[in-house]
């Protein structure tokens, strides 16, 4: 079906499924089929923040003091986070918007993606502070084999859905041969691709971010790189909300509260969905191995980090009805919770070092020896 930016059919959006119904026409929020997305939009907007508000200037001094293995951990993590948010800043828009059929979900996806672009901009903010020219760091993201391996696995479900949607929009359902390759496009196949893609996104938001979050907060536990940690706390808060949204979509489908065909597909593809999650867990453990290849850091090593991934995975998987496949029962990194709690995120400007709050961006630090040559 051809996409139209303003669908002239006078449809009732309350009767549309979340995806693959009529394209959205009027962006109205006075009535909603699924209220949760409107609530998520409001919550997300209330979280608005700008990277420049967080003073990261002290991190530069801290960074010089880190050992080489710690520098490797810190920079590799930033590269991986940059990759994840590069993908998330565009992909939900490109993959989901053309096939969404209700206005509140359409706006949620746009709001969600917009926040991912704030995250991307904050990585530039952090890196520009650490290095005069961060080009080599960014360039390595498309050259580093460890990162590329993950990028391929994350983007393939998006790419698959996007390509199939394009064929469906231009050629409709049927068997199409493009450049010698045959593609069977049916509504059922499209919905399956959507289902798998949503599971892959859910796994991304649920666990892929958490290995790097743990490293960031482990530095902060030692009072190192605290500007960076403040930014990552804000990012983690947003990601939690994004995760909630994909969990809602998956559960609305599985429980038959939206498109009944999606409930069938959820049942049919449960094994594949589980596998997507377990693959993400394995890849994150491999990533932990890569991070600590030159040595651990105080308070964190590969084993504990892998246990934490399993612990988080149990929680996240049970939230979407995939059970708890790992044995671990207790949180191996209990201090993580302090950094993920929203109580510790929202601070009044005068209580934190928000640079835009400082008059003329003057250094706020005054030491007693600054008054050394003062005579009264």
């Amino acid at each position: 079906m051809k996409y139209t930016t303003f669908n002239q059919v006078n449809n009732n959006p309350l009767l549309e499924p979340m995806f693959f119904g009529n394209p959205v026409n009027v962006a109205r929020y006075d009535q909603q089929k699924h209220h949760i997305f409107e609530k998520l939009i409001e919550k997300q907007i209330s979280f608005f923040w700008r990277p420049e508000e967080v003073d990261v200037s002290k991190d530069r001094v801290d960074f010089q003091k880190l050992s080489d293995s710690e520098k490797h951990i810190f920079i590799s993590n930033l590269k991986y986070q940059t990759l994840l948010d590069s993908i998330q800043g565009r992909s939900p828009n490109i993959a989901f918007l053309p096939i969404i059929s209700i206005p509140e979900l359409e706006t949620w996806v746009e709001t969600w993606s917009f926040f991912e672009t704030i995250h991307s901009r904050s990585y530039t903010h952090i890196l520009r502070n650490l290095f005069g020219d961060p080009s080599s760091i960014f360039d390595d993201i498309v050259e580093n084999e460890e990162i590329k391996k993950r990028a391929a696995d994350i983007s393939k479900y998006y790419d698959d859905l996007i390509f199939a949607t394009q064929l469906w929009q231009t050629l409709g359902e049927g068997t199409h041969t493009i450049k010698g390759e045959t593609h069977v496009i049916t509504m059922r196949e499209l919905k399956k691709k959507l289902y798998l893609c949503m599971n892959s996104v859910n796994a991304l938001e649920a666990i892929r971010f958490y290995v790097s979050f743990a490293c960031t907060f482990a530095f902060a536990e030692r009072e190192l790189m605290e500007g960076n940690s403040k930014i990552i706390r804000l990012i983690a808060r947003d990601e939690n909300l994004h995760l909630t949204s994909t969990q809602h979509v998956l559960n609305l489908w599985a429980k038959g509260k939206d498109d009944p065909e999606m409930a069938e597909i959820a049942e049919e593809c449960k094994e594949q969905a589980t596998q997507i999650f377990l693959n993400a867990v394995e890849q994150e453990k491999e990533w932990a191995g890569f991070l600590f290849q030159h040595g651990s850091m105080i308070g964190l090593n590969k084993e504990i980090l892998c246990q934490y991934v399993e612990f988080i995975a149990n929680h996240r998987m049970s939230a979407i009805g995939l059970g708890q496949p790992f044995d671990i029962k207790n949180n191996p990194l209990p201090w993580m919770n302090n950094y993920l709690s929203s109580d510790n995120v929202q601070v009044a400007p005068q209580e934190s070092e928000i640079s835009s709050y400082l008059v003329g961006q003057i250094d706020s630090e005054v030491n007693s020896d600054d008054f050394g040559d003062f005579d009264l």
Binding site: I36, K39, L40, K43, R237, N240, L241, L243, T244, Q247, H248, N251, H315, S318, A319, Q324, N330, N331, N337, L340, S341, S342, D343
Partner: protein, 88 residues
């Protein structure tokens, strides 16, 4: 909307029974006694998802995280009757 002023008993399956403390969330009341997972403490992440086996709770903030019909988010609710819960 009722006020969070009573101190109902909270029976936690496989753990002890504790007393809810007025003006605290259910999470704040029970976390001193049992290990319970939490992240946001504001009802949007779902980390503290808990089964409500018996009794009733009321929310002080709208829970945004996905929960099953028999589940509650202790971080943003308080009991309005004696309750039985099971922590996953």
């Amino acid at each position: 909307m009722s006020k969070n002023t009573s101190s109902f008993m909270v029976e936690i399956k496989h753990h002890k029974t504790v007393q809810h403390q007025p003006n605290k969330t259910l999470l704040e009341s029970i976390e001193q006694h049992v290990e319970i997972q939490y992240h946001c403490r504001e009802g949007y992440c779902g980390a503290c998802r808990t089964k409500l086996l018996k009794g009733e709770v009321e929310y002080q903030t709208d829970p945004l995280a996905f929960i099953e019909d028999d589940e509650i988010l202790p971080c943003c609710c308080f009991p309005i009757s004696p309750i039985n819960i099971e922590i996953s």
